[in-house]
Symmetry: C2
Subunit: 135 residues, 2 copies
Amino acid sequence: MITNVGDYLKSNDVKPSYQRIKILEFLMKSKDHPTVDTIYRNLISEIPTLSKTTVYNTLKLFIKKKITTAISIENSETRFDADMSVHGHFKCEKCDEVFDFDLDISNLKLDELKEYDIKQTHIYIRGICKNCKNV
Amino acid sequence: MITNVGDYLKSNDVKPSYQRIKILEFLMKSKDHPTVDTIYRNLISEIPTLSKTTVYNTLKLFIKKKITTAISIENSETRFDADMSVHGHFKCEKCDEVFDFDLDISNLKLDELKEYDIKQTHIYIRGICKNCKNV
DNA sequence: GTATCTGCAAAACATTTGCAATTCT
DNA sequence: AGAATTGCAAATGTTTTGCAGATAC
């Protein structure tokens, strides 16, 4: 459990600037895998001088430091997730929401990749979510 | 096994125009999940009047008709695949190639999604491929 | 002859880059 | 002061849109 975002950044070799702390705090409390634009729009009232460039820079840094992961699930905007555990993403084609789901990939047979160096495993499913299905 | 691409398009409710046939033929023989730009550049000598708009239009139609799938694996360009079977994609962070690998997802436990309507399952792995690892 | 398909040019977005101003120590 | 960070404005790259001309049945 992370108690202090500034210390958490420091422990990951990232200097905790005001913008970085606010962006990470927002990412950690978001459960909907926000885009750059969403992050920007949510923080601009609190940080009136914030620029999108800073959001881009910060997320690129977070990814490099493995604090955040980029989710490629649609071709338009990239989404971001501060939850680094392995879990799946479900994208509803109707409401466009992206949900997390737990996942046990331990018995995925990946014999073919034996000689490959695996860095990240991503699983995403597209379909219609529970809410949209019952409408 | 598909013997005639024109008939295959017809059977999927797509009128087999010259451009569509050539694009699908190229997609089917490509094993590297080409981008719009790659498809365009490979066909322009054979179809000098081809425009990228047509490539975009055609791929959008193919996806709608479930002849092709869009692979979201990087945030830049969308890649396309005419192989509609469930298989995984491995993206090498060094050489940027995307490889297919076989996959048995039958024992992926997806209890959480019981009430969801699953349309497509995508699995991609990022890392370093065999070739790049041994350099 | 009417529908559809194609392709050009322009527009719309997302993302990156160069650089100057600001901030932090 | 010096180094890193921020943010503006412009550039880049991908995808979409509007529309006119071409093509097919």
